[in-house]
Amino acid sequence: MKLHRVMAVIVRHCYEARRNVDRFMDMVYWPVLDIILWGFFTIYLRQGNQLRPDVVSFLLGAVILWGIFFAFQRDMTVGFLDELWARNMINLFSSPLGVWEYITGLICVNLVKTLVGFACASAIAITAYRFNIVPYLGAFLPFILTLVLFAFAIGIMMAGLIVRFTTRIQTLAWSFAGLLQPVSCILYPIKSLPRVLRPVAWILPTTHAFEGMRQVLAGGGFSRLHFVWGMGLNAGYFAAAILFFNWIFASARNKGLLVKIE
């Protein structure tokens, strides 16, 4: 892996972010809109005295953390889509650039973009709704890591599917996370789910991240159990994603898809 090639990918996507309004909207607009919407909802609940004080923190904390997961997963896939839409794949992969150098560059750019969205959403939560995520960051960090790693694994799998099935399935970039949302127990504890869905929820690192977050906000301290489960599951998903992507990329070379995809 060569640093100058990873840098080339970073620079390429920074130029794109600067010139493409869609990328700016993805980075800032949606996290900000989500936090404004849920913030108003917590104000409404507060006015009716229908709310335990810690529920505001649960809701806003969950919205911010879900924003991190969703943005990272989406941007991993959209990074590949940008190359397809631009018909740039042949130029890129006829250069010495390796596919894992490309993915590493994409991760670096997406970390920064996600951080910008997180900072904007957190700033609004502090100023408008008096929810300050900063004191919780130390305890949240392991769960943020869990979410980012899972988003990374999902993003790689989605990118692999796009290499194979091209832009015909590009909608997955934005919609796949939605499929996980109900069973990730973002806004409610796992015991609220129907019994039949609970095993599905337990095998998702996102569920462990949000259960862990709720324990922190409820004053129960850091949940080592949820963190270990989340990371253990991530190790499995991560290994599967890498194997899947390597297999599908080799298969794309074999089927000539790399030169046809657009």
Binding site: M7, N20, N88, I90, S94, N254
Partner: protein, 247 residues
């Protein structure tokens, strides 16, 4: 040999796009690859670049197999085709800066300025690629292809979208690059006059097979099956296409 293509075959399901193709390229040579649409030229180039895995056979460049030495081979070669594009929101300069980084080109901006001047597109430097004409885009592709001073240049119909004057300039430039830097060039084109002037040797493909290879005059005599004093690649090409249609 700088490039050895040995018994290269590519099958996509039941369709054979390239069938047992073999040829070599000497250092500093300009070799033309001709053939009607669908003859297997582009698939062969893509296999040389490692973008498509061959079903059988091998490609060796600088003595190494592209499958096992991809990175070091691709560092020293380059490719362009008007059928591939650049990120259209980025300016010409931004795109070239990205590729200059990919190839680890020293003094990137100086090199880019020299390439822009070489292809007469300095005024396009800060223009988004989306606003370029096809011909301008082709010249940006050529500038990209020259950034790393490649030892081997693969040009897939580089003059397809250029007007005759610019196409002539590009042809002259490529011949100058070959003379001055000893760059080896593999060139495909549908402009037979251009190929006759540029290429010392030609590989003629049809239905994925090599039907003749040699100098332009040898190709002419082999395919037309008659003695000629001058190469007549236009006539050769039309003969192959007509036979293909009637078959």
């Amino acid at each position: 040999m700088l490039v050895e293509v040995n018994h290269l075959t590519k099958r996509f399901g039941k369709f054979t796009a390239v069938n047992d193709v073999s040829f070599g390229i000497e250092p500093g040579e300009i070799i033309g690859m001709l053939g009607p649409n669908g003859a297997g030229k582009t698939t062969t180039i893509h296999m040389i670049l490692g973008l498509i895995t061959p079903s059988e056979g091998e490609v060796r460049i600088f003595g190494h197999d592209i499958r096992t030495h991809r990175e070091e081979i691709l560092q020293a070669i380059n490719f362009t085709s008007p059928y591939v594009a650049f990120p259209y929101r980025l300016t010409v300069l931004e795109n070239l800066l990205v590729f200059a980084r990919l190839y680890n080109v020293p003094r990137r901006r100086e090199k880019i300025d020299a390439m822009l001047e070489m292809f007469g597109i300095t005024d396009l430097r800060d223009k988004p690629v989306a606003r370029l004409s096809s011909g301008e885009n082709t010249r940006v592709g050529l500038a990209k292809a020259m950034l790393n001073d490649p030892r081997l240049l693969l040009l897939d119909e580089p003059t397809a979208y250029l007007d005759p004057e610019i196409a002539w300039q590009v042809k002259e430039l490529m011949m100058r690059v070959q003379r001055e830097n000893g760059t080896t060039i593999l060139y495909t084109s549908h402009n037979m006059a251009e190929v006759e002037q540029m290429c010392s040797r030609i590989v003629f493909l049809n239905h994925g097979r090599v039907i003749a290879q040699g100098s332009p005059i040898e190709i002419t005599q082999a395919i037309l099956k008659e003695e000629r004093d001058e190469p007549a690649l236009e006539e050769v090409f039309l003969r192959v296409v007509r036979e293909r249609i009637s078959a």
